[in-house]
């Protein structure tokens, strides 16, 4: 069993991912205590067992130092998460989501197995150290093949477009604490895999690799956020937003590979650092948002935003936590999402300044796509928070909602605190992450011209740029307090009156803007991609008398309709064809054996 040795690798990269797993798992466990109230005890026990197995398998994935065990841990993680997706198996949707997930994740694993086998041919063992040696020996065609296989394999797990299809089914359908873990942590293990195998082991020396990752990441950003904007199921919205954020993380990773291949090691360290920073941030705020969405689901029994509204008054704490998460994911200062997106944009800018030429333009256009995705995300979360929590409740479910149990609020509170802390402590975090990223890239950063003191972020490759998040936060709060004083000091008591209704009648929740209405301009402007269609139907007594009117508008899921459906059809048709070979006649089967033996004999004779 020599090929199984040594088993664990605890370098800074692994430790960083272990930290991410731990920091999300802890509040998820606390949250689950409250979430499981009212579940039958037999099922609760199963839940805890699966949850423990899930967390442990993720921890194994990021720490083993042997590709064989990596695959074993990876497969356990996939299977356990499959069982968690179908945990509420009484819903038909859960089973469907589970099957899609199981199929997609195994396609991904198949790519990984292929990549590892190519490695094995050159390395002779499954150890990461031997893989690294093998990476140097490989001819470039095999290296490219391995890279593409790894990208497809890990990309499926990460949810890169167009391999993201399972994500919006599986993540929302799992119980909310599991959604938090899946979106917050599990898809990050794929990023770990990419960094470990492509950057650390293969060494990104070809510039089109990085370029390809950046382009795919940019597409993921835009597609993810556009679908998120169209969504009115709050958990599906968050799942699509994970596709977007994985795109942002991979932009950092891809840029790092790109810069590294162009002999710009410091910028490569900086870009990877930005990506890793966004990774931990996304784990925190997406975990928080899924928990808050789960609380809404628990309190109202629906995930459809069109039936919610006004929850800020019924569940003020959950609303505040969701708001913090929404602000962070929209990259608003001074929260953590802002810092990592700013750093990523700085990486783009610095690359453009240094590279000039066509590469500079490429980076500029990718950054513009990134900026568009960022502002669409802000719009998406204005919609998500505004429609779910503000104004009047749109249904009886929302009217009767109440605040969730303490343990759920504690889980969310912890992550909301981290959202703020990871923004304020950005100087320190950047310092730590620069160590992780330089180790992964094997770059000595002692000569690096970043001033990385504890407070200010100054990527001084760009002259005179600095950002101190505590200072910015302080300025914003002092000015905000000043404005508050201006608003309220010695002010007359405000009058409470109903919303202006044009003098017609008293407004009710039917007059509110809905989630669908909010996203209408986006649906029209991006109709070339979203392909919206509408169905209207007049329900009439007679030709002259229409009693009611049914209206439905949907967007076309382009990837499902034009890629996966035809593919699935092809698979099913070929399966049907294959079935003809197995009619159940023993004579025919004996004939098959005879033919096989004959062919084998001829084959052995010939070679």
């Amino acid at each position: 069993m020599g090929f199984l040795h040594p088993l664990f690798l605890l370098d800074p990269l692994s430790l960083f991912f272990l930290f991410v797993i731990a920091v999300i798992s802890l509040p998820v466990c606390v949250y689950s205590l409250g979430y499981l109230q009212g579940t039958p005890s037999r099922k609760t026990l199963l839940f805890w067992a699966l949850l423990a197995a899930f967390i442990a398998s993720m921890a194994f994935v990021v720490t083993v130092s042997n590709a064989f065990f990596f695959l074993v841990a990876w497969e356990i993680m996939s299977l356990v998460s499959f069982f968690l997706v179908v945990f509420d198996s009484e819903h038909e949707k859960s089973v469907k989501a589970g099957i899609i997930y199981a199929v997609m994740t195994h396609i991904g694993t198949a790519f990984l197995v292929a990549a590892f086998l190519i490695f094995y041919r050159y390395a002779g063992s499954f150890d990461f150290q031997d893989f690294r040696q093998a990476g140097l020996l490989m001819p470039s065609s095999d290296r490219n093949a391995v890279f593409l296989l790894l990208l497809a394999g890990f990309g499926t797990k990460a949810g890169i477009v167009p391999l993201h299809v399972w994500l919006p089914y599986a993540h929302p359908q799992a119980p909310s604490p599991i959604s938090s873990l899946m979106s917050g942590v599990m898809i990050k293990t794929a990023v770990y895999g990419l960094i470990r195998f492509v950057i650390f082991i293969l060494g990104a020396q070809v510039s089109w690799w990085g370029g390809l990752v950046v382009v795919l990441a940019g597409i993921s950003c835009l597609v993810g956020v556009l679908y998120a904007l169209m969504e009115h199921d709050i958990k599906r919205l968050l799942a699509f937003c994970s596709v977007e954020n994985i795109g942002i993380i991979l932009m950092g990773v891809g840029l790092s590979m790109f810069f590294f291949s162009l002999q710009m090691p410091f910028l490569a360290v900086f870009a990877l650092l930005a990506g890793l920073y966004h990774l931990v941030n996304h784990a925190i705020f997406k975990g928080l948002l899924f928990m808050a969405a789960g609380s809404v689901y628990k309190a109202t029994g629906t995930r459809d935003m069109e039936k919610l509204g006004g929850l800020i008054k019924k569940m003020p704490q959950t609303a505040a936590y969701f708001l913090v998460g929404a602000m962070a994911i929209s990259a608003l200062p001074p929260l953590c999402g802002f810092v990592s997106e700013w750093l990523t944009l700085q990486a783009f800018v610095m690359g453009s300044i240094q590279l000039r030429g066509g590469a500079g333009l490429f980076l500029g256009i990718c950054a513009a796509a990134f900026a568009l995705a960022g502002s669409l995300a802000a719009a998406c979360f204005v919609k998500a928070f505004g429609v779910t929590f503000l104004a009047l409740p749109r249904s009886r479910h929302a009217e009767c909602a109440g605040e969730v149990p303490l343990s759920m609020r504690m889980g969310m509170g912890f992550l909301a605190f981290l959202t703020v802390a990871f923004g304020l402590a950005s100087g320190f975090i950047v310092k730590v992450l620069s160590g992780v990223s330089s180790q992964a890239l094997r770059v000595d950063i002692s000569g690096m011209r970043f001033s990385l003191n504890a407070v200010t972020l100054a990527p001084s490759l760009a002259r005179g740029v600095s950002l101190s998040v505590p200072f910015l936060a302080g300025t914003l709060s002092v000015l905000g307090l000043g404005a508050w004083a201006l608003l309220r000091l010695k002010a007359k008591r405000p009058v409470r009156y109903r919303t202006w209704d044009c003098g017609y009648y008293k407004l009710d929740s039917r007059n509110e803007y809905t989630a669908k209405a909010f996203s209408k301009p986006f649906r029209v402007a991006f109709s070339f991609f979203l392909r919206p269609y509408r169905r209207t139907q007049k329900i009439r007594e007679s030709f002259y008398h229409v009693t009611s009117f049914a209206y439905e508008t949907q967007t076309t899921p382009v990837f499902n309709k034009y890629f996966y459906q035809p593919l699935l059809g092809l698979v099913l048709r070929s399966a049907k064809f294959m079935r003809r070979m197995q009619p159940g006649s023993i004579h025919l089967y004996l004939g098959y054996i005879f033919v096989t033996v004959l062919v084998l004999i001829l084959f052995l004779k010939a070679f």
Binding site: S352, G364, S375, G464, V465, L472, L476, L487, A517, F518
Partner: protein
């Protein structure tokens, strides 16, 4: 250190005090161009004073978001305005750069859009949705402008941008792109119209429809400040002046005002000569701004 703090405060107060004047001036110019007598250029000050003394009305459906939003909008506008040099470059390292400025503006916009949804009126939702739509489309062009500036000056810092720099093709094209972005961000014709309250056309006005009294005053003041910041950025791109110094601050202030007035005049002329666009045509306008941004970046990368 002490005198510089004093001067910085002085220029900040000057900047804030002048902001409503610019809006008043644009309104006055528009009226003169339409052959009307028009309101006084100081009308915005009167409006602010009037609103400030009025009692506020809050809708029953609103929550603390509605109350809090004006403070957030004001804080974001004020903290950006701290970075603008009138007669000296502000020494506030750590408050951020050109890129951070975009994010800080987004903070105010986010809360205003939420507040608009909070009242439960369809007008608010309409305004909120449209505002987020327009600002999203403006973002790629803005990002490219920042890129071209960064490539020209090797930095995204506003201090580097504030100095004297040669005006090349890149700066001119970038300023044109920034002008179009500014029209969208400050709700000017042809993107939005501040003068009307028709449900079909309003964007910004629809968002602030439920506000009254001091909150409305604070929101209006924030708009004036934001507009000044945009005007300054455009002016600095095409009419750069050297590093301002303290002893001739009257002259520098005059320079600053003169540059801003040129942009204001351009806005006024544009507003009276074109009609407002349909909402879905705004995408074409901002797409054009994006193309200009690409051209600016190409020119900057070529060093022209």
């Amino acid at each position: 250190m002490k005198p510089s703090v004093l001067l910085m405060t002085g220029q900040w107060i000057f900047f804030l005090a002048a902001a409503p004047f610019v809006s008043g001036l644009i309104a006055w110019m528009k009226n003169r161009l339409r052959m009307r007598r028009g309101q006084s250029v100081f009308q915005p000050y009167h409006n602010l004073a009037k609103l400030f003394s009025k009692r506020e009305v809050f809708s029953e459906t609103t929550s603390w978001i509605f109350c809090f939003a004006p403070a957030a909008v004001m804080a974001s506008a004020l903290s950006v305005s701290l970075l603008v040099p009138v007669f000296m470059a502000p020494e506030l390292p750590g408050l951020g750069d050109f890129l951070a400025l975009i994010f800080i503006f987004a903070l105010g916009r986010f809360f205003l859009a939420l507040a608009a949804l909070d009242s439960g009126s369809a007008f608010g939702g309409m305004g909120s949705s449209r505002e987020m739509f327009i600002s999203s489309l403006a973002e790629p062009a803005l990002c490219l402008v920042v890129f071209s500036v960064a490539v020209s000056f090797s930095s995204t810092s506003l201090a580097a941008f504030s100095g004297l720099h040669p005006v090349g093709v890149s700066s001119v094209v970038a300023s044109a792109a920034l002008f179009l972005v500014m029209l969208a961000e400050t709700s000017r014709v042809p993107v939005d119209n501040q003068e009307t309250h028709l449900e079909l056309t309003m964007v910004h006005e629809a968002m602030v429809l439920e506000y009254s009294g001091r909150s409305l005053a604070v929101l209006e003041m924030s708009s004036h400040i934001k507009q000044m910041v945009w005007f300054f950025l455009i002016a600095q791109l095409i009419f750069p002046i050297g590093a301002p110094f303290a002893d001739g601050f009257l002259m520098w202030s005059a320079w600053f005002v003169a540059r801003v007035l040129v942009i204001a005049a351009a806005v006024a002329i544009l507003e009276v000569s074109v009609a407002k666009m349909r909402l879905f045509r705004v995408g074409d306008l901002l797409g054009f701004a994006f193309v200009l941004g690409v051209i600016a970046l190409v020119c900057a990368l070529k060093g022209v």
